[in-house]
């Protein structure tokens, strides 16, 4: 074996084994008799001794188990505790003191029921519970690592997020909820808004465009998320524990492989506003540029594939030389494209029938040993053979004499293809002058038969007419990059333009494909048996029917969202239960397979699942049932016996204390400080940089590639993959954030200001009132006498220390970007650069930045942005009325490229100086400029014409003319980062509020 092959094998060998770690030796599989695969059992609430405790059927199941263990349930929680519990639970926000007062004052027997109904009809409910589903759906606004090739932001993610929130608020039946997420394109083709649901499938990680991994992620998210089964284990081998053979995995694989991405607008008739027109114009320009380029490239690539068809056939003799799909391949026009090699492989497999008029001979010869090729050819043509009569005349002629090897056979096929292609092109150009309608076929039957192999829609030479995500592998590397760049430009209009309508990235069935084949050990290069597209064998009964409509995705969706599916409803009610009680009846919500521990209350799980389905899959009814149960309304105080009998409280003898997750903690802090902004929906907002948004956390940007450290330390769901349940850890970084972040400090200030307004004076008399008021706002109760005393003492004693001196930073300089408008002679759209590295202002820690490109300013140099709309601007703001002089030298020192343009622009006088430089330098001096306080002088540099080698040096100095007191502003010497905030000491009240926000009482729900 030559070294290259050896290496390729080694490379391939390890590529897909990753992720398929085989667990240690196992017991024999329990198989299909496992409880979770059995139909949901109709169960009746059991008899209990203390029937008076029951509030609804749920309680009978809970109490029966408690009675078995002689554990009494806990007493009912007090009203304040209960109100906070249920409000936090259903909305992710605490109740207000006014809501508490109303609840306390309402002595009617259904006071609590009314609260529950109010909460369930609040839009805050969908925001809270929608976020749980987003964990299931591995929601992210970005694609993960994309190799700086495609735009890294999804254009459609937030429309999916908003759809989820709306679906929950409208109580869309859960079966519909699932159905639309898997197949809205077919289940509700007329319902445009519902198409956003398919973001569930399409907003996963991009895995650098590797199809197998994208499909794997979809299979994993669907099966763990909706069915509680770990099907992706079966990618490389039969599931080690559950009855999921590899064939099942590839049945699903075939469904998703035959599903193609489409980007669609969700607004069919947008209002023709000016703002929309501006968007439309820009978008159409960019989109057409992409579409034209892609169309051209598809044609070029197909033409090359046709001209090399013989080589692609020869490649079949040596498939292992052609690597699996991978982002790491660099392909040029010299290379055979592995994707075409595989297409030929599948195409030939589809034409492997006996006596195929074109490929019959090929397949015949492949069955014989090399030494027998000549003899076998002769035999194929022998008088008695029916093959000879059926075979295409061109092939017959080409093989009148026998080839000596398969390589030669491939060559001869190739020659026939080239010849017929030439004939077709000649016929086309001959038909053109006559003005005839375009020619549809060659007249000669045999030639036409060959032509179709090269040109028919299912030809192995044709690049599928899809978006980049589904056909990029048919292009050479530089073409892929160029096309993604154009696609990215169109994407960015959707992402940024004010008038852009919402879009959805949906799947639709592609053209018919051959049946999927098992990839042995998960390797795309080793094909196993064909399998049907069908449902999982463990759930489909003994004779699973193959899916027959298109990709089969709608049938899959229906099988999942079916009332008889034993897993779907169980998984759903278990997830919902888990969020109410902190732990599921099965504690592994995404794995109900044989390795999961048995449910704590199996009959209850089945009763709930059955009830859920009969109640029309209404999630709100299920919540209502659960939170109205006596079990839910228990206090958190455990019975002395419980610790010995049931230390983990699996029997629910009392309500389990739960810590607020990140979103609930953050939103509650904003809510209690009176600042929470309840605007719903839309593009994601940045949560963690100043100025802080007051929107709910669910609308925060989730960037799976750069998950903010803060989210990670607060156990945010890893958006790279389906997240069954978040961890709940306690790490010091959480405390550091709470102690030291400006975000929390600002909330403390806001709440303190509110309390001070409500309880003015500030003297000794008001301190107790303030403490009481804060306890009510944050804890919904009165402080105890000692708590009150401690608070009053803190407010009285604690005084701020002296403020540390702030670092003196000249604030006259600003570092930003904008566009130099020659007509108005002004810099328009000036914005500051957001990131300071210590040496430079730029877009972010990554340079060049995905959004800000090459924009950069250092003390004495810089680089303009990627286009004329992104000139880099060093701005000076006049602090006084004065006349100033300006001195400096602008230099560009690179021969390649076309240089830069430099301007000095006054907000009062317009452009004062213009320089065009290319590998040259020029003085940029002005003897006298009048400025008034607040005027700006902008030192602007943009690209000469194209983005290439545009580094420049320029450190202007501005000096007041002798008439004024002499002052100098030196860009080089004054350069620095963001002004350091002087220590702003909290006053005693603020410091006290801060402590209350940090307390466990605030961070936990009882």
């Amino acid at each position: 074996m030559n070294r290259a092959i050896q290496t390729a094998r080694l490379l391939l060998g390890s590529a897909l084994l990753a992720g398929c770690a085989a667990p240690s030796p196992l017991p024999a599989p329990v198989g299909k008799s496992h409880w979770a695969f059995q139909p949901v059992q109709p169960t009746r609430p059991p008899q209990v001794r203390d029937a008076a405790w029951l509030r609804n059927p749920v309680d009978a199941f809970i109490l029966a188990r408690l009675e078995q263990h002689q554990l009494p349930p806990a007493a009912r929680a007090d009203k304040g505790t209960l109100l906070r519990r249920v409000t936090m639970d259903l909305t992710g926000l605490p109740p207000t003191p006014a809501e508490l007062d109303a609840f306390l004052a309402d002595a009617s027997p259904d006071a609590y029921d009314k609260v529950v109904d109010r909460l369930l009809s609040s839009p805050r409910y969908g925001e809270r519970w929608g976020r749980y589903w987003l964990d299931v759906a591995r929601y992210s606004d970005t694609k993960g690592y994309v190799y700086a090739r495609e735009e890294r932001f999804w254009v459609h993610a937030h429309t999916y997020r908003d759809w989820v929130i709306r679906a929950l608020n409208e109580d869309l039946p859960y079966d519909q909820f699932l159905l639309l997420q898997l197949a809205a394109d077919q289940a509700a083709p007329q319902d445009l808004k519902a198409q956003a649901a398919m973001g569930f499938l399409t907003l996963g990680r991009r895995f650098l465009g590797v199809t197998h991994d994208i499909i794997d992620d979809r299979i994993d998210t669907v099966t763990r998320g909706m069915l509680g089964l770990t099907v992706s284990c079966a990618r490389c081998h039969d599931h080690k524990y559950d009855p999921i053979p590899t064939q099942d995995y590839y049945s699903l694989y075939g469904i998703f492989h035959n599903s193609v991405e489409h980007l669609i607008s969700l607004d069919p008739a947008p209002a023709k506003t000016e703002i929309y027109a501006a968007f439309e114009k820009e978008y159409q320009t960019k989109w057409k540029a992409f579409a034209a380029a892609q169309s051209l490239r598809r044609e070029e690539s197909a033409a090359r594939a046709r001209s090399r068809a013989g080589e692609y056939m020869a490649a079949q003799l040596n498939l292992s030389q052609f690597p699996e799909e991978g982002f790491d391949q660099i392909l040029t026009t010299k290379d055979l494209i592995p994707a075409f090699v595989r297409r030929w492989r599948d195409f030939l497999a589809g034409r492997a029938r006996e006596h195929d008029p074109v490929f019959g001979l090929w397949h015949h010869l492949r069955t014989v040993s090399p030494a027998d090729i000549e003899r076998a050819t002769a035999a194929y043509w022998s008088e008695s053979s029916r093959a000879a009569k059926r075979t295409n005349a061109r092939i017959r002629a080409a093989f009148a004499t026998a080839p000596r090897s398969m390589a030669e056979a491939a060559q001869r096929y190739g020659a026939v293809f080239v010849e017929v292609d030439a004939q077709w092109k000649a016929a086309l150009s001959a038909s053109r002058p006559q003005g005839a309608a375009s020619l549809a076929a060659l007249a000669d039957f045999d030639a036409e038969e060959i032509r179709r192999i090269l040109y028919a829609p299912d030809s192995p030479c044709v690049v599928p007419a899809t978006g980049m995500a589904n056909n990029e592998q048919f292009f050479e590397t530089d073409v892929i990059e160029a096309l993604w760049k154009l696609q990215g430009e169109a994407d960015r209009v959707l992402l940024r333009a004010a008038g852009a309508p919402p879009h959805a990235l949906v799947l639709r069935d592609g053209p018919p494909e051959p049946l999927p084949r098992v990839l042995i050990r998960g390797k795309a290069s080793t094909l196993g048996d064909e399998v049907n597209r069908q449902f999982l064998s463990a759930l489909a009964g003994p004779n699973p029917k193959p899916f027959l409509q298109g990709s089969g995705r709608l049938e899959l969706a229906r099988a999942i969202a079916h009332a008889d599916n034993p897993l779907t409803a169980r998984v759903a009610v278990n997830r919902i239960w888990r969020h109410h009680f902190g732990a599921g009846l099965v504690r592994t919500p995404s794995d109900l397979g044989t390795r999961a521990e048995p449910p704590s209350h199996p009959e209850l799980l089945d009763w709930l699942a059955g009830w859920f389905v009969t109640q029309g899959w209404s999630q709100k009814k299920l919540h209502r049932l659960i939170v109205l149960s006596a079990a839910y309304q228990q206090s958190g105080m455990e019975h002395a016996k419980a610790r010995a009998v049931d230390p983990e409280n699996r029997l629910l003898s009392h309500f389990p204390r739960q810590r607020l997750d990140y979103e609930a903690l953050r939103d509650s802090i904003l809510f209690t400080s009176g600042e929470l902004d309840l605007q719903m929906g839309g593009r994601p907002v940045t949560l963690h940089t100043e100025p802080f948004t007051a929107r709910r956390a669910v609308y925060g940007l989730v960037d799976r590639q750069f998950v903010p450290e803060l989210l990670r330390v607060f156990d945010f769901a890893n958006p790279d993959m389906h997240c069954p349940q978040r961890s709940s850890t306690m790490v010091p970084q959480q405390s550091l954030f709470l102690l030291n972040s400006p975000f929390v400090a600002a909330r403390a200030r806001a709440l303190a200001a509110k309390v001070a307004r409500e309880n003015p004076d500030g003297g000794a008399s008001s301190r107790a009132a303030r403490v009481r008021s804060l306890y009510r706002a944050l804890y919904l109760r009165e402080p105890t006498a000692s708590q009150l005393a401690a608070g009053v003492e803190f407010l009285a004693v604690q005084e701020p220390g002296p403020a540390a001196p702030a670092r003196v930073v000249p604030v006259e300089w600003q570092y930003g970007y904008g566009e130099y408008n020659a007509t108005s002679q002004r810099v328009v759209q000036f914005k500051p650069l957001p990131h300071f590295t210590g040496d430079a202002w730029q877009g972010s820690g990554t340079y060049p930045d995905a959004k800000y490109g090459w924009l950069k300013l250092t003390a004495d140099a810089g680089h303009p942005g990627n286009d004329r709309a992104h000139a880099v601007v060093r701005r000076w703001v006049a602090p006084v009325d004065a006349a100033v002089s300006i001195a400096g030298v602008v230099a560009h020192s690179a021969a390649p490229g076309d240089g830069i343009r430099a301007f000095i622009v006054s907000s009062r006088h317009g452009v004062l100086l213009t320089r065009s430089l290319h590998n040259s330098q020029a003085a940029a001096d002005l003897a006298r400029v009048e400025v008034t306080r607040g005027d700006t002088l902008d030192f602007v540099v943009d690209i000469g014409g194209t983005l290439s080698h545009d580094d420049f040096q320029w450190a202007p100095k501005i000096q007041t003319l002798p008439t004024a007191p002499a002052r100098l502003w030196d860009a080089l010497a004054d350069f620095g980062g963001p002004p350091t905030q002087p220590l702003q000491m909290l006053n005693p009240l603020e410091a006290y509020v801060h402590v209350l926000l940090l307390s466990n009482e605030f961070a936990f729900v009882e």
Binding site: S24, G582, Q733, S999
Partner: protein, 472 residues
């Protein structure tokens, strides 16, 4: 939302099945909150030769044939074609053989040849254990970085440092178990120090990033802009008093109370970190001799020297895994062209600081149980890219080296072919490299598993062997 203790209980059960932490389990069932600290130190599977790691990561792919693996035939056959096939998949096209522009000279007792790029490190060859047969999978930076750091080039998997923190815990309750100093945000970025499906506690804590000068690098929120430590102490005293009162008034079962207790403790830890981190980063207490040792008196070596010196200080205080990345916002060591200039500059930036670190660790007796790792994500091709002065990525064969922590000093393991293209003798895949590192830390790479998504995951996936020959 579940109390932390529930998570740790399962983890501990998992670990006890592996022979870990039986004591911790009893502690936890008895409701002792302290035992639920996921950072508490844990016993390894077998005798550990190293207790901690300092990983010097050279981002961009330093050329092994220009640094630590001398190839006489490459010098002889300069300009000739590579006499065997290049890999099918390469990052870019390369031409004929390119001799190393640097001279190699024998050093130390072992007589190992090191190029003139690393004069200071060369003085330590008798302490180094060279792994000349490293090979990976992926010829692109992103994939190769992820492979080296997590064992997987495309899936999201826990970083090596996170696995080590998970396996061994921390030796210092005031500091994170896994710190990464100025890591790069590119090429997989945070995934390279992430915990993936491991509890997030085990993720690396970044100090700054590659675009920030080491002197600016800080743990987030370690400083308050709003109050003094004295004021904060008053706040924390009140907070603790309130939290204790709250705990006493509520349920006292171990799960419920444990969660409260560990949150109380985490505020105290945070408070301690506020003073311990700046104190550790404050190098003013180091002698002038030490600063010179690390090259901090020279602008060329100041930045990396500071990173290395901080690494020593963290290691000294029991941080289990410290990564130091040599990289700024330009990709380092990645000389597709300008090899002579680029490698000369890069080597000059790190050579003295690395040698200083080795000297310092040894002088303090730390080298015995600290494993120092030096590696890039891949090496470079012996064939030329461009015309005369560049080399392409080479994941098929490259050199890493280890020092300290139970490795054979002055030793060479494996080799590439005569020209340095393919790992040939005693091939050491990245999985094998990981298996060996874990072994040195007393961990059996096949038994360090975490159950996720229905199966047990390992750093080494389904492969990996321990290069026993390098064990001292």
């Amino acid at each position: 939302m579940r109390a932390y203790t529930q998570v740790t209980r399962r983890e501990v059960l998992q670990r006890s099945a592996l022979g870990f932490g039986a004591l911790a389990l009893t502690g936890m069932l008895a409701g002792e909150a302290a035992a639920s600290d996921p950072a508490s130190p844990r016993r390894p599977h077998f005798r550990a030769r190293a207790r901690r790691v300092i990983f010097l990561f050279m981002k961009g792919g330093p050329s092994h044939v220009d640094t630590f693996e001398h190839k006489p035939l490459l010098q002889r056959d300069h300009g000739k074609p590579l006499p065997f096939a290049k890999p099918k998949v390469t990052f870019a096209q390369t031409g004929n053989l390119l001799a190393s522009p640097w001279k190699f000279r024998e050093h130390g007792q072992c007589g190992h040849r090191v190029s003139e790029l690393f004069p200071h490190v060369a003085r330590h060859v008798d302490e180094l254990c060279f792994l000349h047969s490293m090979h990976g999978t992926n010829p692109a930076h992103g994939g190769a970085l992820l492979k080296l750091h997590t064992g997987s080039d495309n899936f999201v998997r826990p970083s090596m440092g996170a696995w080590v923190a998970y396996g061994l815990g921390s030796e210092n309750s005031g500091l994170p178990a896994f710190l990464t100093i100025c890591p790069t945000l590119a090429h997989g970025g945070v995934l390279n120090w992430g915990a993936a499906f491991l509890p997030p506690h085990y993720a690396g804590t970044p100090m700054g990033n590659a675009s920030i000068a080491a002197r600016e690098a800080q743990v987030r929120h370690i400083k308050s802009a709003n109050w003094t430590p004295e004021q904060q102490r008053l706040q924390l005293d009140l907070l603790e008093q309130m939290n204790r009162g709250h705990m006493a008034a509520g349920p006292a079962d171990p799960v419920a109370a444990g969660a409260l207790e560990s949150r109380i403790a985490s505020f105290e830890l945070a408070y301690r970190m506020q003073s311990s981190m700046p104190e550790l980063q404050d190098l003013s207490g180091e002698t002038e001799a030490t600063r010179q040792l690390y090259g901090m008196d020279n602008p060329v070596t100041e930045n990396f020297g500071r990173q290395c010196l901080m690494a020593r200080r963290f290691a000294e205080r029991g941080v289990r895994f410290v990564q130091v990345t040599h990289s700024d916002n330009k990709v380092q060591w990645d000389q597709h062209g300008d090899l002579r200039k680029g490698h000369t500059e890069k080597a000059a930036e790190v050579d003295k600081p690395i040698a200083g670190l080795l000297t310092d660790l040894k002088a303090r007796g730390l080298l015995e149980d600290t494993l120092v790792i030096w590696s890039g994500e891949f090496g470079r091709t012996p064939t030329v890219q461009g015309t005369t002065d560049g080399r392409d990525h080479n994941p098929w064969g490259f050199t890493a080296w280890l020092a300290g922590g139970g490795v054979k000093p002055g030793f060479r393991y494996g080799a590439t072919d005569d020209y340095g293209f393919y790992a040939e003798r005693e091939r050491l895949h990245v999985h094998d490299f990981h298996a060996t590192i874990l072994h040195l830390l007393g961990i059996d790479h096949e038994r360090l598993t975490f159950r996720h998504s229905g199966r047990n995951f390992r750093l080494t996936d389904v492969s990996g062997y321990v290069a026993k020959a390098i064990l001292a």
